[in-house]
């Protein structure tokens, strides 16, 4: 589903060239739940950005769901992203002037993936799935952090993408809520969606199929959870 070959990423900074990623090679299968762990600034977010087409590699290739995304133009990339990748951010990033349901409908509006009449119904179903159907018509400002993140997850699933990327999705949540959110990702992976989560919390390794550890832009280790992996393969 996801294939990164010899990916490097360098940024020009006033202090000279900075290598955010060095020679990264990763393969992720369909329905796999992968955790990218590392300290702040290690390059895990950059890795996620490469997969989501938010950033382009300085060298190497990135293929997601059969598309070599480094070859797409900006507008092709936007459309591709909308249909193929669902994003979940640390600070939820809901649009403040849209209600929960509307936030979920927005990717469908952008990508025209479902008939206009069905979009709200689908949004409500997704909100139901993540347990915040009651909050559908409320503005983000009146939701708790956990509720906002659930709406954000529903939004990530709006276009039924094969891949969901989450950057520190529990970083702003209490431990109970964080656990519930992680469960949602687990369920997603079970139902066949490829999930990649970046986190600096090592606990995530316990629930993921595989853990990729990044230090200073390099992958230093890949650990496989012996109990979770066969399940993922079943789904694939």
């Amino acid at each position: 589903m996801i294939s990164l070959q010899s990916v490097t990423k360098e940024y020009e900074t006033p202090a000279g060239m900075f290598s955010a990623l060095r020679d990264i090679n990763v393969e992720v299968r369909k329905g796999e739940f992968v955790a990218v762990v590392g300290k702040s600034g290690s390059g895990k977010s950059t890795l996620l950005n490469m997969v989501g087409g938010i950033d382009r590699p300085s060298s190497g290739t990135v293929a997601v769901a059969g598309t070599e995304i480094h070859s797409l133009s900006e507008s092709q990339l936007a459309l591709w992203r909308g249909r193929t990748v669902g994003f979940v951010f640390q600070f939820f990033q809901l649009l403040p002037t849209l209600t929960g349901a509307e936030n979920v409908m927005l990717p469908m509006d952008f990508c025209r993936t479902f008939p206009a009449r069905e979009r709200r119904q689908r949004a409500l179903e997704l909100l139901e799935r993540v347990g915040v159907a009651q909050q559908a018509d409320k503005l983000p400002s009146s939701l708790s952090g956990g509720e906002q993140q659930r709406v954000a997850i529903a939004r990530a699933l709006a276009n039924n993408p094969p891949v969901v990327l989450a950057d520190e999705p529990t970083g702003n949540l209490d431990s109970v809520t964080a656990g519930a959110v992680i469960d949602l990702f687990r369920q997603m992976a079970k139902s066949g969606t490829t999930v990649v989560i970046a986190s600096h919390e090592r606990d995530i390794a316990r629930v993921s199929d595989r853990t990729v550890e990044v230090v200073d832009g390099t992958i230093v280790g890949i650990a496989t959870d012996p109990y979770a992996a066969p399940e993922a393969e079943d789904c694939a």
């Binding site: 938010i54 936007a78 992203r81 909308g82 951010f89 002037t97 509307e102 927005l106 509006d109 952008f110």
Partner: protein, 817 residues
């Protein structure tokens, strides 16, 4: 409604105060533009329709006595659909004991059957009976008479006669009587005879049968008629062909309104600048949202559309607010101009094209203004957008100016803070300064234009050393006139001049249609002037024969020299005439037709004379060779020049002229002639002041928007200030100080460019209204007044944002993202 549109509307609602400010700014611009465009459509339509309804003459011929045979012969020409004789007689009118007024009497053959250049009866009797006169509706105020009054009238050979004012008419084709300071009267042939004049008609109004709007065709037909009339032994004194189907004032009205609409568009551009500031700030504050929308699949165009949608909403809201305002404005403008031009507006209906144009301009302005910020803002990459941590990405302290400002210290901390703050958003500051400075510029220009017009007129009138001029009905011996002057108390001294009309022979003449139409103002109404315009025999020139070493006129010679005693073939032309003869140089010969003869003169000088028609000055000696010791014009210096003294002199002068059997056509004091100029000037001045008010309003709204954006963006800083112990008053002070600083900067900017710009604006406007340039003067008072206005407006504009800033709680401000 799609989700992106919901976002458009809610984002605006969230910031409704600021949205309202911007809508108001655009609405001001659109209202101004809409008023002028609607007024233009209504006025030109009403003016031409009203004029056409009178069946205006295609051409007017002046000859001697017209009889029925002549008319039958003309009507035999199939190209002529109608021909009607009339006569225009100049005279004077007096109502009660008040002074004499200039009178133009139109003698109509049959009031029951006017077919060409019709009159609309408005009140009282129609037709006038023997011994009765009808008066043009606008002229009642000049005559100071009412229907039923008895007025004293004096024409040509006749003695003073009394006529009863029996009714009022509306003569659409005439210029406003009050502006011309002239009374238009309408009588029958029989009444003319009663007044002691020979009862005949000498003016022929012709209507062509076909192609009524084809000037070339009219000219061909009129020339044929002229030949026919001359062939039957009637000399043709003059042939006038007005612009077909166009009221004489259509063009000047159109030019005036169109130049106003240029200013309207200017205001619109300024309100566009406010939109630029708003949308730029909006895009900056929503960078992260843009990143998220891109991350979930929004393309640049889809995201740009959301913000263009907001600009479109601004436009729609502004149009809704401004249409009623614009229509109201157009009515006020129409009523004012209709009164000024003396015609009625039957319908204020605004044609569809005006609505469409206003809607288009209203929608396009904010869209255009938003184009750059939206396109730039929506182009940010997802990574950059998501990494953005606030609204002001450019860090203060990186540029040379920042460091220079950091060096400006001082003990008044809020002021230092405000000074540095105001330079943080440079583009926004520059755009805000531009709108505010424009208002100041217009205001300072308005005062400068006024001062310049006053100085130009002062200079013009300073050369004229007389207080009263009297045009005589004929030429009279100088001794007779000297006796009159000596016997009239209040006159210090006087001179007898000779004035006449000349024309430039055709080949050299630059055609100037409409020049004669405004002659009433420019010639001061002394000679009466014709009603037509665009004479076919070249440019008309006022010829004034001056006594050698006259004390009463000091020409301002700009090239060559003045006339010298002992000369009789030299001529000095004024700047208006020189402009029409650009090839002519001092020393060249100039041929003028005066009466039947052509005379060639040697040009010795050019004199500067603003606001004047084409005039040539010749030595009185030339006239004296033909009519020794005669004059037809008096120029008098009085010992007192207040209105009452002038009137007293006029009355006793009148009596003394009568005693000597000298017939006066009319008199005009310098004060009256100046008054007429001042009226026109006031119009320009008021227009500029109104414009500067509107632009200043837009500038104020712009500053208010800017300050509210600044406050919003610096919310966190305000919280920090409060956290480290700043009082709400301190926060309030720095915001207001920043606003006032912007006001001061805008004032400085306006003051810097005021000189060249006001010169340009002044010259442009006076050229439109008077066809003449200006003697530039700078009114320093304007600078100080605008300084006060700038400080007050900017303090007022930053008051509410400052108040809001001072009320942020520390927690709120620090939580704000």
């Amino acid at each position: 409604m799609t989700t992106p549109w919901r976002k458009v509307i809610r984002d605006f609602w969230k910031e409704r105060m600021r949205t309202a400010l911007v809508v108001l700014a655009i609405a001001l611009g659109i209202s101004g533009f809409a008023s002028v465009m609607a007024a233009y459509a209504i006025l030109t339509r009403a003016l031409d329709e009203g004029y056409l309804a009178t069946n205006p003459a295609s051409a007017t011929l002046r000859t001697d006595r017209i009889d029925d045979d002549l008319i039958s012969a003309i009507l035999a020409n199939p190209e002529v659909s109608d021909a009607e004789p009339r006569r225009v007689v100049n005279g004077r009118i007096r109502s009660g004991p008040v002074e004499w007024r200039n009178l133009m009497i139109f003698v109509v053959k049959d009031f029951g059957n006017i077919r060409v250049s019709k009159l609309n009866p408005e009140a009282g009797a129609w037709p006038p009976a023997l011994g009765e006169i009808l008066i043009e509706r606008d002229a009642f105020r000049v005559a100071r008479a009412r229907i039923g009054d008895t007025v004293t009238v004096k024409i040509a050979q006749g003695k003073e006669q009394t006529l009863r004012v029996s009714g009022g008419v509306h003569d659409v084709g005439q210029a406003q009587a009050r502006m011309e300071n002239m009374v238009y009267g309408y009588i029958t042939l029989a009444t003319l005879a009663q007044l002691g004049e020979e009862a005949y008609l000498d003016q022929l109004n012709i209507l062509v049968a076909q192609n009524r709007f084809d000037e070339g065709h009219i000219r061909t037909v009129a020339t044929d008629i002229q030949k026919l009339v001359e062939g039957r032994g009637h000399p043709v004194r003059r042939l006038d062909i007005p612009r077909p189907g166009k009221h004489p004032h259509t063009d000047i009205t159109g030019v005036m309104l169109l130049s106003m609409s240029t200013f309207g568009l200017f205001v619109l551009v300024l309100s566009g600048i406010v939109v630029v500031n708003l949308i730029t700030a909006l895009m900056a504050s929503q960078v992260r949202q843009i990143g998220v929308m891109k991350a979930i699949g929004g393309t640049r165009w889809q995201i740009a559309r959301i913000y263009f949608g907001q600009a479109l909403l601004l436009g729609v809201a502004a149009i809704i607010v401004s249409l009623p305002l614009g229509l109201l404005g157009s009515r006020i403008l129409c009523r004012y101009l209709a009164a000024f031009l003396n015609f009625d507006i039957n319908s204020f209906a605004v044609p569809v094209w005006v609505y469409l144009l206003v809607a288009l301009v209203g929608l396009v302005t904010p869209l255009l203004a938003a184009a750059y910020p939206v396109w730039k803002g929506s182009g940010i990459s997802v990574r950059e957008a998501l990494a953005d941590f606030g609204t002001s990405r450019n860090t203060f302290g990186t540029s040379v100016l920042d460091r220079a400002l950091a060096g400006v210290g001082g003990s008044v901390r809020p002021l230092v803070f405000a000074l540095r703050n105001s330079f943080r958003q440079r583009t926004r500051l520059a755009l805000t300064l531009l709108t505010m400075a424009a208002g100041g510029l217009f205001f300072i220009s308005a005062l400068n234009v006024r001062a310049s017009m006053i100085s130009t007129l002062d200079r013009l009138f300073a050369g004229k050393k007389y207080d009263l001029s009297v045009a005589l009905g004929n030429m009279y011996p100088s001794e007779k006139l000297a006796r009159v002057i000596n016997n009239t108390p209040g006159i210090v001294r006087g001179e007898g001049w000779f004035t006449t009309d000349g024309t430039l022979p055709d080949p050299t003449a630059a055609a100037t249609p409409g020049n004669a139409g405004s002659s009433g103002l420019h010639s001061g109404g002394v000679a009466g002037g014709g009603q037509g315009s665009g004479g076919s025999r070249g440019t008309r020139v006022n010829v004034i024969a001056l006594p050698p070493e006259t004390n009463l006129l000091k020409l301002e010679i700009v090239e060559g020299r003045d006339l010298l005693p002992g000369e009789s073939d030299t001529i000095v032309i004024n700047s208006a005439l020189a402009k029409k003869l650009p090839q002519l140089k001092v020393g060249d010969p100039l041929t003028l037709q005066m009466g039947p003869a052509e005379t060639t003169w040697r040009v010795v000088g050019i004199s500067r004379e603003s606001f004047s028609p084409s005039t040539a000055y010749i030595p009185l000696a030339f006239i004296a060779e033909r009519h020794p010791g005669m004059a037809n014009n008096l120029r008098l210096v009085l010992n007192k020049t207040d209105a009452a003294s002038i009137n007293a002199v006029k009355t006793s002068l009148e009596r003394n002229l009568e005693l000597e059997d000298v017939r006066a056509l009319g008199s005009l004091s310098q004060a009256d002639s100046r008054f007429s100029f001042d009226q026109h000037m006031l119009m320009i001045y008021v227009f500029l002041i109104v414009m500067s008010g509107i632009i200043g309003g837009v500038g104020g709204l712009g500053l208010m928007t800017t300050m509210s954006l600044n406050v919003m963006e610096r919310r966190r800083e305000m919280g920090l200030l409060r956290a480290i112990g700043a009082s709400p008053g301190f926060v309030w002070t720095i915001v207001v100080a920043e606003g006032v600083l912007v006001g001061l900067l805008s004032w400085a900017l306006a003051a810097l460019v005021a000189w060249p710009v006001s010169k340009l604006v002044g010259n442009f406007l006076t050229r439109v209204v008077f066809q003449t340039g200006l003697e530039f003067a700078f009114e320093t008072r304007g600078l100080f007044i605008w300084l006060a206005v700038s400080v007050l407006v900017s303090a007022a504009a930053s008051f509410i944002p400052a108040w809001r800033a001072s009320r942020f709680t520390v927690r709120e401000a620090l939580a704000y993202e």
